[in-house]
């Protein structure tokens, strides 16, 4: 599971925190959607959870391991799919997967079996011998997803995973996310596609200006606000937050 307690991030000498006393608890077997407008603090939060960014205050534990105190132990439990298309694209698909397997200490037999399986699932087997630099955006996203799954992590974190994927690939990814959660893993992802969040997530959190505005199951949020869709909930909450900030 992922646990964030009073997590705050202030960049440099900025007066405004990018993430402000954030508390979150994502249990095992849950698909958690992290929603928010551009610049809300989603990627900053994800970078702190994955141990790429120092926390200014607070604590984060991944599978019970404190990311600050034992970063290696915490990171070993994470499979991370970044939002950026920047990756080690001079490697071939095979070499990239082998690199990830080496980093996470996956034995030879298991890595072959998993690589074959996921490459077939994501329909990338034929391109695996090519350098990643020759891949399309969607193919890069797929190899990144497979790289994050090669050690079948108990915690899977995806930053804007649907970007660049065609409908079929997006469907396969959503099915995989559900399957991972059903197998007991924690799946945490950020997205702008609210329909995806509404259909896929067990719980969602809405963040704006670094603060958590609302959190719960999609049904909870709809009942709480009386809205008909997650999109309406999202727009209402973020607009209210923007107005409150303007008044201040």
């Amino acid at each position: 599971m992922i646990q964030l307690t009073n997590v705050t991030k202030v960049y440099g000498k900025s007066a405004h925190p990018s993430v402000d006393r954030l508390n979150l608890s994502v249990p095992e077997g849950c698909v958690y959607g992290f929603l928010g407008p551009n610049g809300a603090g989603k990627t900053t939060t994800i970078r702190m959870i994955t141990g790429a960014l120092k926390l200014t205050e607070g604590t984060i534990t991944v599978g019970g391991v404190d990311i600050t105190r034992d970063p290696i132990g915490a990171k070993m439990q994470i499979g991370f799919v970044p939002d950026s298309q920047d990756m080690y694209d001079k490697l071939t698909g095979w070499e990239y997967l082998n690199f990830m397997a080496d980093i996470f200490g996956v034995d030879a037999k298991t890595r072959k079996e998993r690589a074959d399986r996921y490459l077939e699932t994501f329909e990338l087997t034929k391109a695996a011998g090519d350098r990643i630099q020759s891949y399309s955006r969607g193919m890069k996203q797929k190899i990144s997803v497979i790289g994050a799954l090669i050690h079948e992590p108990p915690v899977w974190i995806l930053d804007e995973p649907m970007v660049g994927l065609d409908p079929r690939a997006a469907f396969i990814l959503k099915e995989e996310m559900k399957a991972r959660a059903q197998a007991g893993a924690t799946v945490f992802f950020s997205t702008h596609v609210l329909e995806v969040a509404e259909k896929l997530c067990d719980r969602v959190g809405i963040i704006s200006k670094g603060r958590l505005l609302a959190e719960g199951t999609p049904e909870d949020l709809l009942n709480r606000t009386g809205d008909h869709s997650l999109e309406e909930v999202f727009l209402e909450m973020t607009e209210k937050d923007a107005e409150a900030t303007d008044e201040k």
């Binding site: 970063p71 080496d102 980093i103």
Partner: protein
């Protein structure tokens, strides 16, 4: 024509912006030492220009005493043209064909010829700026000392402006030929690399053989060169340099010839290479490794964490043409050029003054270890791979930090690759030195151990600097290494390491054993300091960004 100007302006602005030391280090909105970099750049420029002026004054005084004051500007002209021709081949390849903007150019409503002309102009401007630093001190000195200020200005400006055109046209043509030859290869980058090294080395051998054939007695040759053979010698080495030298001396006919040939060369290369330029630049970015029908066991061989990181570093350097050219070119070229230069220098020396004979009069092998070691340590000066190792991660850095890898392990992999490259250069120098001098290999091995200490020290400090002041926001792979100010810091650290090792020379020059012991002790201390600095930072970084 309008499109050509717009593109040229854009490319020049981009080049200037990427070279701006104030802008480097602005990652995540934080300015890191921009003012410090700018100050350092100014100091370095003042130092460089100051050194050049001092050096040229010495040459002018020597040549003026021999009644040949035109030698200095002539040498500067030759140097400018040669640098553009030889070094321009590597720069031309990476600037013309290895930028990431080919897809951007391809969709613009401009012709391939306009895009090529704009790129060539941008390259011309940067080469002409470099030439200004070489030519102007010599021209100004000549104008002052000879009292011919106005005629000098009238000839110097057009010569300066025309100087880079012919060599650049040759470079552009050769680059296009290389890319075309390599197009059908599965290992395109390697083919281009080998061919371009071959051209540069072949040209160097041609020049040295040509010169050494022209005169059997080097002293007579040198006197002839100084007193009456100046322009002819230039013309023999590279005819346009001869025309430029004569044009500078006031020969209007030669100036017109230089102008005409320059214009013809530029027009010809634009007409020949221009139409297929974008297509070729696009093909360079394509993957050169084709899909395998099935994977082999080697594809999924298990390895340790260090091996995975080490292999990743090497693969990225070897498969990124811009990093391969700029990172390994000097490492391979420097020993070879050194060898060719020394061979040509001694090839016509009289019996008894050949290098192996000269080595016999050195009183102690300790001197060979000390000075040979310092010479071989040049390997870490010409190695920008380690001083840009963290910056070259670029947008991959946040992902790299999310991996369960200790910063120490990551830095060790980068450091080892840097040391391997520097030591490759040092070893090549040692081999060249052995071939030339036939010194006992054990002595050379000892010198190599001394060099290794310096290489480790310089690599560790350079990597520490890049880790603490990374430049992640580069637009293309060439910028990541070539326009990264951290590689200048790498050279400065090398200079500092060598300077410190030279301190014992002032005290114990006549006591070889003591001198060697002191120099090795200093190198060991530098190595320990460098490693301590690097790993202390790695511990503090705790794998996370601030």
């Amino acid at each position: 024509m309008k499109n050509y100007w717009i593109l040229t302006r854009l490319m020049l602005k981009n080049t200037l912006a990427s070279m701006n030391p104030m802008a480097q280090g602005e990652d995540d909105g934080k300015k890191k030492g921009g003012k410090g970099r700018a100050l350092l750049l100014i100091i370095l420029m003042l130092y460089g220009v100051g050194f050049m002026i001092w050096f040229e004054i010495q040459i002018y005084n020597a040549t003026a005493a021999m009644q040949n004051p035109l030698l200095l500007p002539g040498l500067a002209i030759l140097l400018g043209m040669m640098l553009t021709l030889v070094l321009g081949l590597f720069q031309g390849l990476s600037e013309l064909y290895q930028g990431k903007d080919a897809p951007f150019l391809a969709v613009l409503p401009v012709t391939s010829r306009q895009a090529f002309a704009a790129r060539l102009t941008s390259l011309y401007v940067s080469e002409t700026a470099i030439n200004a630093m070489i030519l102007f001190p010599a021209f100004i000195l000549y104008a002052i000392k000879s009292g011919k200020a106005l005629p000098t200005v009238l000839t110097a400006i057009p010569v300066w402006l025309l100087l880079a055109i012919i060599p650049l046209s040759i470079v552009a043509l050769l680059s296009a030929l290389l890319m075309r030859l390599a197009f059908f290869s599965r290992h395109r980058e390697t083919v281009v690399m080998i061919l371009s090294f071959g051209i540069a080395i072949g040209y160097s051998i041609f020049i040295t053989r040509f010169n050494s054939r022209s005169n059997e007695d080097p002293n007579a040759y040198f006197n002839a060169f100084l007193n009456n053979g100046l322009v002819d010698n230039f013309a023999r080495i590279f005819p346009p340099a001869g025309w430029a030298a004569k044009a500078f001396a006031g020969n209007v006919g030669m100036l017109l010839l230089l102008l005409g040939v320059s214009a013809a060369c530029a027009a010809a290369v634009i007409a020949l290479v221009g139409p297929s330029y974008i297509e070729q630049a696009l093909s360079t970015g394509e993957s050169t490794v084709t899909a395998k029908s099935s994977k082999s066991d080697a594809d999924m061989r298990t390895g340790t964490l260090f091996r995975a990181l080490h292999r990743l570093e090497w693969r990225r350097v070897l498969r990124t043409p811009a990093w391969l050219f700029n990172g390994l070119a000097g490492v391979v070229m420097y020993p070879l050029m050194l060898g060719i230069g020394v061979i040509s220098g001694f090839s016509s020396a009289p019996e008894g003054s050949q290098l192996p004979d000269l080595m016999k009069i050195i009183p102690s092998p300790c001197y060979i270890i000390c000075f040979g070691g310092l010479l071989m340590a040049m390997g870490s000066m010409v190695n920008p791979v380690v001083s840009t190792a963290v910056s070259r991660e670029g947008g991959c850095w946040p992902f790299a930090l999310a991996l369960p890898v200790r910063q120490q392990d990551r830095f060790t992999a980068k450091l080892i690759v840097g040391i391997e490259i520097s030591t490759l250069c040092s070893t090549l120098i040692a081999i060249v030195a052995w071939v030339l001098t036939r010194v006992n290999p054990l002595i050379l091995l000892c010198a190599l151990v001394f060099t290794l200490m310096i290489n480790i020290a310089v690599s560790a400090v350079s990597l520490w600097h890049d880790a603490t002041h990374p430049h992640f926001r580069w637009a293309n792979e060439t910028e990541a290494i070539k326009k990264n100010f951290n590689q200048v810091f790498g050279m400065l650290y090398w200079l500092a390491a060598i300077a410190l090792c030279c301190i014992p020379l002032f005290f114990w020059l006549d006591k070889p054993v003591l001198l060697m012991a002191a120099m090795i002790a200093i190198a060991a201390a530098e190595m320990a300091l460098g490693l301590w600095l690097l790993y202390r930072t790695a511990n503090r970084m705790n794998m996370m960004e601030e």
